[in-house]
């Protein structure tokens, strides 16, 4: 399968459309032109850089190099998942609660898929492992940060209700169950919606990419099905573990709600 190669003129078209949008925003005083242009420049630089790096990594093909790339991705995910919630746990727990579940559950799913369904040769082939890790980690990260965001804000907002249960003899698990349920559902809604809409409202990203690259539609659909399953289970496991860690830190062994361990962002 050979994807049609894009010329500089093709990319210039994309640039012209962005500039036209920014110009229109300026003209109509919507003040979104700056973020548009800045994000576009960032995206171009990042993607070209990553393209170059991957070209080199694929050419070397050594597992250590692949591992190094995955380690950088893991570090970026830990940073990013921590940067998102409106409130955060104090100290290192902040990275524990969000980063650890994302990395552990994300990579567990990636390795499982590499060893079974995808089984490239060798199994750690950078050409499969790196893009797979990217899409899975991204998805798990979204789920985990949504889960933590809802969990922390709901725990603060519903403090009275949580403590009323504790005060009557409920365990911390019982008292936090409502808040945890809200958080887990919110975390999975984007992935569930994506699955429900897949093929009818939108063609999912992976499938679109493979169709553009010339793959058979049924083959592309099978890939998408596999990836959706990996994303949903990874997100569920990641969010579950993150909520468990967050609940552990937000309470103590005497079943108290410890909101004093939360900090506002910044």
């Amino acid at each position: 399968m050979n994807a049609p190669s894009l010329t500089p003129a093709d990319l210039a078209l994309a640039a012209a459309l962005v500039l036209a949008s920014a110009g229109l925003s300026l003209l109509l005083d919507f003040r979104i032109h700056r973020p548009m242009v800045v994000a576009s420049l960032r995206m171009v630089a990042q993607l070209l850089l990553v393209g170059q790096v991957l070209r080199i990594v694929f050419r070397i093909g050594h597992p250590i190099v692949t591992l190094a790339v995955l380690a950088v991705m893991a570090a970026a995910v830990v940073y990013e998942v921590g940067a998102r919630p409106e409130r955060r746990l104090a100290g290192l727990w902040h990275y524990m609660a969000g980063g650890l579940p994302t990395v552990v559950c994300g990579f567990a799913i990636v390795v499982l898929a590499l060893l079974t369904a995808l089984s490239p040769s060798p199994w750690y082939d950078a050409r499969v492992a790196i893009p797979l890790a990217g899409i899975i980690l991204g998805n798990v990260m979204n789920a985990v940060s949504l889960a933590l965001n809802v969990f922390f804000s709901a725990a603060v907002r519903e403090r009275g209700a949580i403590e009323a249960r504790l005060a009557l003899g409920a365990t911390k698990g019982q008292a936090l169950h409502g808040v945890s349920t809200q958080a887990l559902r919110t975390a999975l809604i984007p992935t569930i919606n994506q699955m429900a809409a897949a093929g009818i409202i939108t063609l999912p990203g992976i499938m679109t990419g493979q169709l553009l690259a010339g793959m058979d539609p049924i083959g592309a659909a099978k890939y998408q099905i596999l990836l959706m399953g990996l994303m949903l289970s990874g997100s569920f496991a990641g969010a579950l573990l993150a909520l468990k860690l967050a609940a552990t830190r937000l309470t103590d062994d005497r079943h108290r709600l410890r909101l004093d361990r939360l900090r506002p962002r910044g």
Binding site: G160, A161, A167, L168, G169, R256
Partner: protein
Amino acid sequence: MTLLLDVRDLHGLPGGPFAFHLEAGECLVISGPSGIGKSLLLRMIADLDPNEGVLQLEGQTRAEMSAPAWRARVSYLAAESGWWAETVIEHMAPRMAAAPLLSRLGLRPDILEAPVSQLSSGERQRLSLIRALIRNPRVLLLDEPTSALDPGSTTLVEALIAERRAAGMGAIIVSHNPEQAARIATRRFAMTAGQLTELAGP
């Protein structure tokens, strides 16, 4: 009289050390300026905030009981009640036990089916008392339990608490109302910065 709750060397956020005891059927009333830490003192007794001290309920120390087991026997009612489900009945366990208490506090019988969001603050305050009483605690820690009530409802609440005390329950009540304190207290305490002083006479 039998000793119900014994508090020794209790300290934490509102200061301390605090030491006092509560006998079965007693009602201690604590008063003092706003913000001095009366609610925090009750929360410490219920072990809802970090604290240190030796507390015993009927001879059993708090440290050797799980926190949920302690709070099921020594229950704290916040001044502003918290609700975790949609309708009133979902908060009541056992469910059937709540019904007979409604009329005692001047509440309509169908209020159990009502959504919590439609209740007045006075209704919530009385229902949160019922919610705690049907779990049969040995000690009730009440933070201004009648602040949202008219004099008639206040009398009903005081009568119900007195009835439970006659059956052996103990109560520690934070109240800003000196007449109420005079009516219900077996002993009265004044809280000043980090200290509790017993006042002479009931």
